[in-house]
């Protein structure tokens, strides 16, 4: 995996809320920098406000890729608790399954206690008695969060237990229902929805499951208020967000920008592009390719990127240089993603494998226009027919690759490839590509 360094703070875009000061796993320093975590009942600057209402007013949207309004999600959990009369759970998703993303890892190295503050505040607001944080097995993120939780436990500041679990490093393990399944029953496999996790998640109880960065923003909103949060960013989805920028840029890494920042500005903050860039990958390996010329001045929001077919996802932006064959990269990613299928649903298990094969033939210039048509036909019938959105994402990634690089497809059909790059660009975790089986075993525990 390409090394992603944290970027130096940029004064040009104003305050850095999450990556301003690198506090690290240090509770004392955290309190000194961010003040004590405000608890329910205690007002913020004299204004008594229910945290859920505050989050709704702030307009915070999920930073794990869904961009779903967090206040609405919390409200739904509260409603489900009233309806089911079961104690809710809080789950912090610090898994960061996207290979091209490292924003959660960076956030946890900078301000792990902000993440945990947010989880504690949310738990108090919805009446949860326990918090579970989940990160990849054997990763630095897990270690940091475990240490941070231990610090809080010995200081006795929370009054709620925070357990930190390590989950298997499979791509779909970080999917919402899979994570709730793992926390409740120990198996990180997606389950059928509905019911959604907010009404039936961990052990069929209402569960507030959100990304680590989202919880960090909750912690800041509780301190500074909804109007402060709305002070920067796009009004439709305000605040700041973390973007993992990689590829042909001068300083690849994680940067914090207001929502609605253009791709051009984001690239500039990451050291600018190095050489000619033809297209970007937005959102991750379940996201989409966009033409650089179409997308460069689009704002980084769901609606903002839509005209070019881009998706912000979990804040992933890869600048793909012109010397790289996008079809080769797409084939590599598709093959890996096909192997990451849980194998529970036929269209995903068999469909993605056939898509990967078609892309590989196209990438290696051993295909025909009939096979490309078959590939496109398959891409058309796979989405929406799996239990989770994994196949939909892979299909979008592949389909947009073919559209954006139509001329490259034509070239490959006549046996030519315009790419000259000899090394892989998009990072793929090392290890054997798994072959999905219908009865997944121990690797999912």
């Amino acid at each position: 995996m390409s090394a992603l360094r944290e970027a130096a703070p940029s004064p040009a875009l104003g305050e850095l809320r999450l990556l301003g000061e690198k506090v690290g796993v240090d509770l004392t320093r955290h309190v000194a920098v961010h003040e004590t975590n405000p608890t329910r009942g205690r007002s913020r600057r004299g204004h008594a406000s229910d945290l859920v209402t505050e989050i709704e007013d702030a307009g915070l949207t999920g930073r794990g890729g869904g961009w779903f309004p967090t206040g609405r999600k919390m409200r739904a959990v509260v409603g489900a608790v009233k309806h089911n009369r079961k104690d809710p759970f809080v789950v912090v998703n610090a898994m960061e399954g996207e290979p091209a993303a490292s924003k959660d890892a960076t956030l946890v190295q900078y301000n792990p206690h902000l993440v945990l503050d947010g989880a504690v505040l949310a738990a108090e607001a919805i009446g949860a008695k326990s918090i579970t944080v989940v990160a990849h097995r054997g990763g630095r993120t897990h270690t940091a969060l475990a240490r941070a939780a231990a610090q809080r436990a010995s200081a006795g500041i929370d009054g709620i237990d925070i357990s930190v679990l390590d989950a298997p490093g499979r791509y779909v393990a970080s999917e919402e229902s899979a994570l709730a399944h793992f926390v409740g029953d120990g198996i990180a496999l997606p389950v059928t929805v509905p019911p959604r996790v907010f009404e039936s998640g961990v052990r069929r109880r209402p569960t507030l499951l959100s990304n680590a960065e989202t919880f960090a923003h909750i912690a800041l909103i509780a301190r500074h208020g909804s109007q402060w949060f709305r002070g920067v960013g796009d009004p439709s989805a305000p605040g700041t967000l973390l973007v993992s920028v990689s590829g042909a840029v001068g300083s690849p890494g994680v940067i914090e920008v207001p929502t609605g920042t253009t791709i051009r500005t984001i690239l500039g903050l990451a050291g600018g592009t190095t050489g000619s860039v033809h297209s970007f990958v937005t959102g991750g390996y379940g996201g989409s390719w966009v033409a650089a010329s179409e997308a460069i001045d689009l704002p980084w929001t769901v609606e903002g990127l839509r005209p070019a077919g881009g998706v912000p996802g979990a804040g992933v932006l890869v600048a793909v240089p012109t010397d790289t064959c996008a079809l080769v990269e797409t084939a590599r990613v598709a093959r890996w993603m096909a192997g990451e299928s849980a194998g529970q649903c036929g269209p995903c298990r068999f469909g993605l494998a056939s898509v990967a094969e078609g892309l590989e033939h196209l990438a290696t210039r051993r295909t025909s226009s009939a096979e490309v048509r078959l590939l496109e036909q398959r891409l058309g019938i796979i989405p929406g027919r799996g239990a989770c959105r994994h196949p939909d994402g892979v299909v979008r990634f592949a389909a947009t690759a073919l559209t954006v690089h139509e001329s490259e497809v034509v070239a490959h059909l006549s046996g030519r490839c315009t790419g000259t790059r000899r090394t892989a660009l998009l990072p793929i975790p090392s290890g054997v590509t798994a072959i999905p089986v219908s009865r997944p075993g121990e690797e999912w525990r």
């Binding site: 036929g346 068999f350 089986v437 219908s438």
Partner: protein, 186 residues
Amino acid sequence: MSVFWLATRATGEIALVLLTIVTVLGIATTKGWAHERWPESVVTLVHRNVSLLSVVFLVVHIATTVIDGYVPISWVDVFIPGQTSYQTLWVGLGTVALDLLIAVIITSLLRHRMPQRAWKLIHWTAYALWASAIVHSLGVGTDKTLTRLVAITMVTTVALAFVARFFTPDRSDDPGVTLVQTQARR
């Protein structure tokens, strides 16, 4: 020899054959064994229909036994095992088979309205009910040659299907389409 006594032995053997067919078709259903002329939908529907047919023959088998009165079996003994003084064990096994069959059929009719795990658990007792019926026929039957012949054939058939069930791939691992695809696609 009364007509009832003949009828009870005949319908008993037929019910046993039908139950064997049901068991094999049940295995075929869950494994997705099918053929152009016997697609999966037919296999599962015949499995269901033959099970109901076997109930019909069972009802006649039981009714003729009780009515005939040659052996002292009352209606209570039909449903509660171990009550008869006559061949307590062998008749009792028949009762057990009937009780299990009633449970399997009722739960299958209510399949969509009950937890799947409970349905599955009860359905698995189908093997036990079939085995009880086989042993019942051997113990109770007076024409030993016939009952042994039928029993051996039935046991061999189910044993083969049982082994095939566990030593062949599941339908979910087979990414091919059923041979009836052309009909389905039209």
